[in-house]
Amino acid sequence: MSGDRWQQILREVTGVPGVRGALILSADDGLVVAESAMDALDTADVAALAAMLVSRAGRCAAAMGTAAPTAVHLTARHGALVAVAGPEPLWLAAVADHDAELGRLRLLLGDFAGAIG
């Protein structure tokens, strides 16, 4: 897939009200592959932290004997981090404010995640 298409996807995700930034990351090493974010959001940090969270979620799923995670959502008092698996090892992630439309964001990330390979 072209970088232009990735940027188009990321722009659509960040177009959801309340979304502060979106990125494609490599879960293997926690590095940013592509990004679209507000200045205040450090996407390198987000990528590293999201990769670690996905890794821990994978270990939890393995302990439970369930399939590997396809999505991980962290919801906190002031915001949320939503990550959805794309083609290995890519994940599409977004950071949103607490009042963002998380249901819509989750669906949008799910729709686009498969298209980022």
Binding site: R56, A61, M64, T70, H73, L74, A76, G79
Partner: protein, 250 residues
Amino acid sequence: MTDIRDPGSPARAPGLAFLELGERLRQRGQLDAAATVALAGLAHYPTLADAHDLLGRIRVEQGQDAVAMAAWRAALECDVSHVGARKGLAYIAFRARDFATAEEHLELAVRAAPHDVTVLAALDRVRAARPVVEPPPIAETGATGFLLFDGQGMRLNGSVGPDAPEHLADAVAAEGASLAREGARVARLLSLGDVQHVVVESSDARVAIFPVAEGASLLVSRPAATPVGRLLALGQRASSAARDWLGRLG
């Protein structure tokens, strides 16, 4: 610290003889006279913990629990490690079936007097009388699996399914706690505030982890067909039940 009920206690200063007199009167059942002696002594020695303790023992025998508690609390203000006052407060709590408070007072008493066999015996009695806490009524919420664990990944209650072996639940508790810690770390570093939940979706299951108390978390699992909103509603109800259960543990 001396204990007026201990015959082996060293001799008291002459001015404190009222303690022994008041105790003898109490033991003989002359409670009004004992109270008069204790109150007179307290007028001279208002910061003497033993005197407040004596008054507490008299008042509790007179059926004045609230006054007795006030006396023992006053004793603790004078001497926070006063064993008699702790025992007295534990006794009243025990009678009220407030076993957690009774145990707490006796544990503090044991800390102050670790070789006092009367305190150790009282602590044993309280612990033996304490009812076994029932597991939280999570089953009523319809969860396929629920698992409550502490911050170190030790399982507190529950399992990951009706037929799941305990060793599996222990392993999930360890990994669940690790995920909960990582979630808290991510939220802190991204300035997202306190974590409300972490949801993990896979092709065959949906799992949510909720912080329920200091370090403790609840994991709820459901089949993949369960809507995320329902999983969260279920988890919030189960978290409330888990908090109540942890509160009853003391």
